[in-house]
């Protein structure tokens, strides 16, 4: 992931409802990923991040480790302050999982992103 210059002190949040990866069983897992940090001079190139997210479609993870995977990926490419990741996975067997890694933050809500209420 290439970095881009962002004025230090800018609070950045990203949200994608298009997270997809494979569980150990091979069943695809769908979810939402939210990322928040305070810039200390840079962020990542969004196109590169999209390509990275897409690459997870063919990778297998234990669901509980997916937040750490994304955290590590960002940490290894850009310097941030208070980086936090929150993942909401779609329910499996009636159970919904929320996974968080790094700094706590309030999750941005965009009510209209899903097309069926």
């Amino acid at each position: 992931m290439r970095s881009i210059e962002v004025i230090a002190g800018t609070k950045v949040q990203y949200l994608s409802h298009e997270l997809l990866f494979l569980a150990l069983s091979g069943q695809p897992y769908r979810g939402t990923v939210a990322i928040a940090f305070e810039s200390i001079g840079e962020s990542f190139n969004l196109l590169d991040f999209k390509v990275y997210l897409t690459s997870l479609r063919s990778q297998t993870f234990t669901a509980e480790n997916i937040a750490h995977e994304i955290y590590q990926k960002i940490q290894s490419h850009i310097k941030t302050k208070d980086l936090g990741i929150i993942i909401d996975l779609s329910s499996r067997g009636g159970i919904q999982q929320r996974l968080a890694f790094g700094a706590d933050f309030a999750l941005v809500k965009k009510e209209t992103i899903f097309q069926v209420g």
Binding site: H17, E18, L20, L22, S25, G26, Q27, P28, R30, T54, R57, S90, T112, I113, F114, Q115, V116
Partner: protein, 157 residues
């Protein structure tokens, strides 16, 4: 009711296919064939690939039908829908293909599928497939729903 043809439901060693595989679909018998009733199956995790750019597409599929003799078994439907994951299909192609596969499988009295795809390039595409079995009642139903579709468009996404 005979469920002897069901092989996937309850199978502990489920195999997932990421390439289009219509033979995954299985049915069970409708035990209320004398009644007309709706069955709606909502698939919020549908995904496929753009055939040109190879970028992922996502959608909610709303499948509604009035069963005749056969009904689609939902686990087999889940596995069938996952099999589109690495298939390159336009949104319109996906919805028509699934519609035709389900008609071939079940021969329902009536069936419709609406694909609510996530926006790409600021545009979300919502193709609809519909089918009736030729009987007057279902033909009339299909015509009514076709002609009245999206009369009051609302902002989506």
């Amino acid at each position: 009711m005979s469920n002897s043809t069901l092989t996937l439901l309850g199978d502990k060693n489920t195999q997932y296919s990421y390439e289009y595989k219509p033979e995954l679909l299985e049915t069970f018998e409708n035990t209320h064939q004398g009644n007309d009733y709706w069955v709606s199956l909502n698939a919020d995790e549908f995904t496929s690939l753009c055939p040109i750019t190879n970028q992922p597409d996502f959608a909610t599929l709303v499948i509604s039908y009035i069963p005749h003799v056969k009904m689609v078994e939902s686990k087999s439907l889940k596995l069938y829908l996952f099999s589109f994951m690495n298939s390159g299909e336009f949104h319109e192609e996906v919805v028509n293909k699934i519609g035709k596969d389900l008609v071939k499988l079940m021969q329902p009295k009536y069936l419709e599928i609406i694909g609510l795809f996530y926006p790409r390039g600021n545009i979300s595409i919502h193709p609809t497939f519909s089918y009736h079995n030729g009987k007057k009642k279902y033909k009339k139903l299909e015509k009514y729903r076709f002609m009245n579709r999206n009369l009051n468009p609302k902002r989506q996404g």
